[in-house]
Symmetry: C2
Subunit: 199 residues, 2 copies
């Protein structure tokens, strides 16, 4: 029995550990790359090596960039005094795609989780409290996921910041733009109903 | 609006072109890697660069390896005179996982397809005819997928080799209609090989 050569096997094993890929789809992806060694595989390896070498977490907000201070924290046109708290960098990018928020971010790096033994100190929550004091923040917007852990974390942060007197808000829950009621879960519809506004 | 930095955007775009990944799952995979820059991302980039540099198609059978002649063609313990014809290297690996075939392979690189304008000369079929004559081959086993294009290709090869007098057989029992070898369990492939029939 003679499977892929050792080097290719090692590559498949590493690819198979990516989220959304398993052994079979990793094999498929590697075979796809093997057919395009010069035009796709080598550039992809190069791009990945570059990012592995140059990526840095922003020392202020936890966003990922290629500098000590990320482009958002470093941008003088961003509104000061408004911090949007997100769980992950993926959520920060989603907020930026929306384009509606003009302030700065704070990336927690996850949510509180009793099950996974993740506490406030694992999540850059102490850094957030410090920023609120140091930066003269007037509003903290909690843009956490509408999951149990996300909401638990939101409540914890609201409590932790209560003494500072900063205004704390959270994203409105409701029907997504273009969303069809028939496809939404009941919780979403209930929340949308409770948060209804006059037109 | 400030999305991922240019280097990370470039990496996401390249990852999104892999089969089975789209823009969202590529972003997810890259964020996963960004959290594990030293332990996973750098080794993955290195493994990919190594393969891009060292991988070669075997000059005899079309299998992928790191040498001019692949380990199977180079292995004196493999039975000579039996060639198993497969569409892709993925199928060769699937056959090898089955472990039932002791001969050598011929990787076509696809199937005949009128729609995609893929003819015999695009598929290493002329090389196969040459090997049958040069290597004193007694049996050619057609292990092509049970798809329309796979079976069209099998018939074409059987016709092309008819004059040579070589025995031609094909995988039979166990391969479901429309089934692709790479998705079958090892036992099924072994059973199909043992029950192969002459065509
Ligand atoms: Zn920042
Ligand atoms: Zn070979």
């Amino acid at each position: 029995m003679s499977g892929p050569p050792r080097e290719i096997d090692a590559l498949i094993a590493l690819m198979a550990r990516l989220p959304g890929l398993g052994p079979r789809s990793a094999r498929r992806a590697v075979l796809h790359l093997l057919k395009r060694r010069d035009m796709v595989m080598a550039p992809l390896a190069q791009a990945m090596a570059t990012v592995a070498l140059t990526a840095q977490d922003c020392r202020v907000c936890g966003n990922v960039g290629t500098t000590d201070l990320c482009p958002i924290c470093d941008d003088p046109r961003r509104v000061t005094g408004e911090i949007c708290v997100v769980e992950t960098v993926a959520d920060l990018w989603a907020m930026e795609r929306g384009g509606a928020f003009k302030g700065r971010y704070h990336v927690l790096g996850g949510t509180l989780s009793a099950l996974d033994a993740i506490g406030p100190d694992d999540l850059r929550i102490p850094d957030l409290a410090e920023r609120v004091l140091d930066e003269g923040v007037s509003e903290v917007i909690l843009a956490l996921n509408a999951t149990v852990d996300g909401q638990t974390t939101a409540h914890y942060i609201a409590d932790a910041l209560a003494a500072s007197g900063v205004q704390i808000s959270s994203l409105a829950q409701g029907v997504p733009v273009g969303g069809e009621l028939d496809y939404l879960d009941d919780g979403t519809i209930g929340a949308a109903l409770r948060a209804r506004r006059r037109v």
